[in-house]
C-alpha cells in the first residue's frame, strides 16, 4: 500500500480528505505511483505532469523521506520506506505566485 499526500487544491479536485492509499503493481516508481493515482482519480490527469510525455509540471515537486525527488528519473525505484507504506510520497505545490 502506497501512501500519497496531495496538495490542498488537488485533494479538493479529487474529493478526498487526508492521504490517498494506492495499490501499485510491480516496481514502485514515481511513474507507477502517478499512473495508479491518475487511474484512481482521472480528474488529476494533466494537473501533476503533462498528459503526453509525463513531464512534471514546473510548479509541482515530489518529496519523500526528507528527499527532493523532483529531478529523479521517473522509473527509478522509490525509497523502500515509501514502497512499504512506512513513509508517504508527497506531491507538493511549489512556493510561488500569489
Amino acid at each position: 500500500m502506497i501512501r500519497v499526500v496531495l496538495p490542498a487544491h488537488l485533494r479538493t479536485l479529487a474529493r478526498v480528505d487526508g492521504e490517498v492509499r494506492l495499490d501499485v503493481a510491480g516496481a514502485v516508481t514515481q511513474r507507477s505511483v502517478l499512473d495508479a493515482l491518475e487511474a484512481r482519480y482521472p480528474v488529476l490527469a494533466g494537473t501533476i505532469r503533462d498528459r503526453d510525455g509525463g513531464r512534471r509540471r514546473a510548479f509541482v515537486r515530489f518529496f519523500a523521506c526528507e528527499l527532493d525527488l523532483s529531478h529523479e528519473p521517473p522509473d527509478a525505484p522509490l525509497p523502500e520506506a515509501v514502497a512499504s507504506g512506512a513513509e508517504p510520497y508527497l506531491i507538493v505545490g511549489a512556493m510561488a505566485g500569489g
Binding site: 487544491h9 480528474v43 494533466g46 494537473t47 501533476i48 498528459r51 509540471r57 505545490g93 510561488a96 505566485g97
Partner: protein
C-alpha cells in the same frame, strides 16, 4: 423576464450574482473553485442551467468545470486540449520561431442552440470545440493553420484567442479574434478561416495594409443586425458594416480610444459601450475617473456615463471579457474591474451601483437573463 444571473470569473475563484428583474437586491454566492484563476464562466443560450467555467492555475494547469443546475453545483469535465497534428511554430517576441504551446482557455462560447456544444479559445491561439458537453475537445485547425499562422506574435498578455462570436443569422459564420494577430471569419462552421482586418491601422506595424498582426481586444455584435461589428482594438474603436470585410474608425470624441471591452445594448443595435483607458502603458481610467462611454449612433458620438461610478482616485482596469448586458426590457449593463468591483446599471447605463466591491480582480463578466 424575471431575473438575471451574473457570472463572474476572478483571479481567485468564480462568483454567481443573482437578482430579480428590479436588479436592486443581489444574492452573492461563491467563491467557487477558491484560489483558482477563473478566466471565464459562460451560460448556454439553449439551456440556462448549463454553465461552463475555465479554471486554471500555474501550478496545476487547465480544468473545465460544468454545472447543470445554474451554478449550484459543478463537476470537472474534459480538459485535454491537444493541437491537431504537429503544431509547428509562431513568432516569439524576438522574431524567432516558437513552438505552439497550450497555456490556458481564455474564453468559452456555448453554441446558440445546443447546450452540449461549446467552443474554447485558447492560448497559444487556437480554437477548440466540444460536442459532448465538454468531455472531449477537438481543435478546429483551419484557424491556427492559416497561411499567416507562422507569423503571428503574442501580445503582452500572451497569444490568446479571446473572442468568439457566433453569427445567429448566417449558418456556419463565426468570428474569432486573437492578440496580436487580428480578427478572422469563417463561413463554414470553423473549418476554414480568413483574416478580416482591412481598415485596421496599428502604429506597431509598418505595413499600413497588413493582413495580420493587429492587437484586437474585443469584438461585439448585435444579434438583430449581425453584419455590423464593433471592435475595441489596442488603440481605436472600430466598426464594420459588412461582416468584417472592411472597418472604419468610430472613436470620435472619446477621451482616449485605448481600452479592452466593448458591448452592444440588447435592444438598440446602435447603442454601444466602451470603457476608455488612459493608454497601453497606463491601464487605468483617464484622470482617475471611471467612465463608461455610450454611443447611441453606432459610434463617433460618445457620452460619458458617470452617475454612481467613482470620479476620483480610481485606478482600476476593465478587462476585455468583463462587460456584458442583460436582455430585460430596460437593458442592464454590467462590468467588473481589476479592483474587484462589479458594477450594474438597470437603465442602460444612465446610473450605476456596485453589486459587490471587494472581490478578487475580475477577469470576466457574463449575464444570463432568466425567464
Amino acid at each position: 423576464m424575471t431575473g438575471v444571473r451574473v457570472l463572474v470569473g476572478t483571479r481567485k475563484g468564480a462568483f454567481v450574482l443573482t437578482s430579480d428583474g428590479q436588479r436592486e437586491a443581489w444574492d452573492v454566492s461563491g467563491p467557487n473553485f477558491p484560489g483558482w484563476e477563473i478566466y471565464h464562466v459562460a451560460g448556454s443560450p439553449a439551456d440556462q442551467d448549463r454553465l461552463y467555467a475555465s479554471q486554471s492555475t500555474g501550478w496545476f494547469g487547465q480544468l473545465i468545470q460544468r454545472s447543470d443546475d445554474g451554478g449550484a453545483s459543478w463537476a470537472p469535465v474534459g480538459s485535454e486540449f491537444s493541437y491537431d497534428g504537429v503544431p509547428g511554430t509562431h513568432q516569439w517576441y524576438d522574431g524567432t520561431p516558437h513552438p505552439w504551446e497550450f497555456a490556458r482557455v481564455w474564453h468559452l462560447e456555448p453554441s446558440l442552440d445546443d447546450p452540449d456544444t461549446v467552443y474554447a479559445g485558447v492560448e497559444d491561439a487556437g480554437l477548440f470545440r466540444s460536442d459532448d458537453g465538454g468531455h472531449h475537445w477537438q481543435e478546429l485547425p483551419g484557424l491556427r493553420g492559416h497561411d499567416s499562422g507562422p507569423s503571428w506574435q503574442p501580445g503582452a498578455g500572451g497569444m490568446c484567442l479571446h473572442t468568439i462570436v457566433l453569427d445567429p443569422a448566417t449558418p456556419g459564420r463565426m468570428f474569432a479574434a486573437i492578440s496580436a494577430a487580428g480578427a478572422f471569419r469563417s463561413d463554414d462552421a470553423g473549418q476554414t478561416w480568413r483574416p478580416v482586418n482591412r481598415g485596421l491601422h496599428s502604429d506597431g506595424i509598418p505595413d499600413p495594409d497588413a493582413e495580420v498582426g493587429h492587437c484586437v481586444h474585443r469584438i461585439a455584435q448585435h444579434p438583430a443586425r449581425p453584419s455590423v461589428l464593433y471592435m475595441q482594438k489596442h488603440w481605436d474603436v472600430m466598426r464594420s458594416d459588412d461582416a468584417g470585410e472592411s472597418w472604419r474608425e468610430v472613436s470620435g470624441n472619446l477621451p482616449t480610444d485605448f481600452g479592452f471591452p466593448i458591448g452592444v445594448h440588447a435592444h438598440e443595435p446602435d447603442t454601444v459601450y466602451v470603457v476608455p483607458i488612459t493608454s497601453d502603458s497606463e491601464h487605468f481610467p483617464p484622470e482617475g475617473r471611471l467612465r463608461v462611454y455610450r454611443s447611441r449612433t453606432g459610434g463617433d458620438d460618445w457620452e460619458p456615463l458617470t452617475k454612481g461610478l467613482p470620479q476620483k482616485h480610481c485606478y482600476v482596469n476593465v478587462l476585455r471579457d468583463a462587460m456584458a448586458v442583460d436582455a430585460l426590457d430596460s437593458c442592464g449593463v454590467y462590468f467588473g474591474t481589476t479592483g474587484g468591483q462589479v458594477y450594474a446599471s438597470a437603465d442602460s447605463g444612465d446610473s450605476w451601483a456596485p453589486i459587490v466591491r471587494d472581490l478578487p480582480a475580475v477577469l470576466s463578466v457574463e449575464v444570463q437573463t432568466l425567464p
